[in-house]
């Protein structure tokens, strides 16, 4: 089975949405075609799948317990030794820590964007659909959010609510609410006046039904693209926060935390900070490639939100 077949089968379960008034029925088809045809998409998908799987199956794949301090400290990488990627300053196996770290880093990344997307899309949908003072109010709030650089929001939220998996996820995701809200609102404004929305209104559907059954499905394409690209950003954000010591519990291995722990050893043990960075780079690159291919496939304009 080829990669694209895999993808196809993975997505075929959810394609039963043709019954709504005006949804673009070619959405899924395009998606699969993209992965089949586009080299970038293939590479991206492969990379993400590889890292995703090694994260999920880390307990089975990792050679050692990531917390166990059983080796000499600061051993350089040696592919033929017990620690192919070397050990950290506590004598823990870096390869195992990297694999476990992937779990948290990827989960926080995905979770953060999901959080931002759900809230942002809700805000955007309502603002766009209702317009008027609801729109004004919601978008002003979004404006204020936007006036904070993301890191500032994240740092403040973590400082207030403390470090922890869910807190960090929310802290990072918070910064994406405004982007999703703007995007969703823009899309809604564009389709609010379209035929199928009018048609839905004329048959007497409730507002929320129209929003969720008619309007929302039609904003999906650009939102998926945005989601993908933001996931890449969120993984970078997690690494930055953890590097600053403000990530998930300081002792949990995440890619950013591994990097941060290497900071004091830059000049004597480069591998502690370099190797997790490569893992981050490859993963994010994979997601970006995938997102880029999707963007082309869905014909979404690049807005510089990478």
């Amino acid at each position: 089975m080829s990669v694209s077949d895999l993808v196809e089968s993975a997505f075929s379960g959810s394609s039963e949405s043709g019954k709504t008034f005006g949804i673009r029925s070619d959405l899924l088809e395009r998606f699969i075609k993209t992965i089949r045809r586009d080299l970038r998409a293939k590479i991206g998908f492969l990379v993400v799948a590889l890292f995703g799987l090694s994260a999920i199956f880390a307990p089975m794949l990792a050679p050692y317990d990531p917390m166990s301090q059983q080796f000499p400290i600061l051993m350089p990488p040696d592919p033929l030794s017990a620690n192919p990627l070397g050990t950290d300053s506590f004598g823990r196996d870096l390869l195992s820590r990297l694999m476990y770290g992937a779990r948290i880093s990827l989960a926080v990344g995905l979770g953060a964007v999901t959080f931002g997307a759900v809230l942002g899309i809700l805000i955007g949908l309502f603002a766009g659909y209702y317009g008027g003072y609801i729109d004004d109010l919601l978008m002003r709030a979004v404006d204020v959010m936007w006036a904070f650089p993301w890191l500032l929001i994240a740092i403040m939220l973590v400082a207030i609510f403390g470090q922890g998996f869910w807190n960090v996820m929310v802290a990072i995701g918070f910064a994406y609410i405004d982007d999703f809200a703007r995007l969703a609102r823009g899309e809604v404004l564009a389709i609010r006046e379209e035929e199928y929305t009018m048609a839905a209104k004329s048959v007497g559907l409730e507002d929320y039904e129209i929003i969720f059954e008619e309007v929302f499905p039609n904003t999906v394409a650009p939102l998926i693209v945005q989601f993908t690209i933001f996931t890449a950003r969120a993984i970078l954000a997690e690494s930055t926060l953890s590097f600053l010591g403000l990530g998930v519990k300081p002792t949990t291995p995440t890619w950013g935390a591994l990097l941060g722990q290497g900071r004091g050893f830059i000049t004597q043990a480069w591998w502690i900070s370099i190797i997790p960075g490569i893992a981050i780079m490859v993963t994010v690159l994979g997601i970006n490639l995938f997102g880029d291919a999707l963007r082309d496939a869905f014909d979404v304009k690049e807005t510089g939100q990478t």
Partner: protein, 319 residues
Amino acid sequence: MGMRRYIAKRVAHALVVIYIVATIVFFAVRAIPGDPARVLLGGDASAEAIAALREEMGLTEPLYVQYIRWMGRILQGDLGTSVFSDQSVLQMLIGVAEPTLSIAGLGMLIALLIAIPAGITSAVKQYQWEDYVATTVSFIGISMPGFWIGIVLLIIFADRLGWVPAFGYVSFRQGIIPWLKHIILPALAVGLPYGGILMRMTRSSMMEVLNEDYMRTARAKGLDGRLIVFKHGLQNALIPIVTVAGILLGVLLGGVVAVEIVFGIQGLGRLLIASIQRRDFPAIQGAVILISFVFVFMNLLVDVLYTSINPQIKYGGSE
């Protein structure tokens, strides 16, 4: 609406946003668990001493009283005094702003110098090797955390090759060359990811412009290709580029914080993080307000620039 009125409206809007930001920050810092009096006096200070200091710092008053007082002082341009160092917050901010601005400024310059030529080349030579190289490099650029680029550069150029100092900052007042040597690596670290995004932006907006009818017409008329690209193409492509450059300022500022830590530079980002850890309320407030201020007004500037280079946009309708 005239340009002047438009600008006035936007400035007013920006000020309101900053006011709200300041208010949120005021209450947010007080929601951070931990007591500045305790930090200042050390862990084993007596309960009475802490209570006395809290009183002196005005922390025992009701929140709204503290808030009104604080607003009053802010309006007079007084950001207060740092709890930790007895120094005025404004003075502290001025002290740390120089390294941060140096890094951010040079970083932005590097980004623009790389991104715009590369983006244009990439668009003009679409699907040729130049395009592939530029696109790939930019993709890699946006996929790395800036601070990690900093670590890699530090290991190679400072630790191994010894071309530049690894850590610390030297003011330009002590000589331009030492200054540049200290900030070149941090600037590259913040500039490269930023440049990657800008390059992609330049490429796509340039491509769009190149496909416009008037460009095709111009080319069909036999005008010199290069001239067209630069005169018409760039001019039009610049509009979205400028916008994005503004929007991404947040990304750049965020990057500087972590990069300062890698290179051990006492900048705005380090001040902010240290102040949060010490629960130095006045310093946190000052730093956040300053950052938001720069952020909001840079974007405002971009917006105004945007409307003035693009006369088709109506002043009121750009939101």
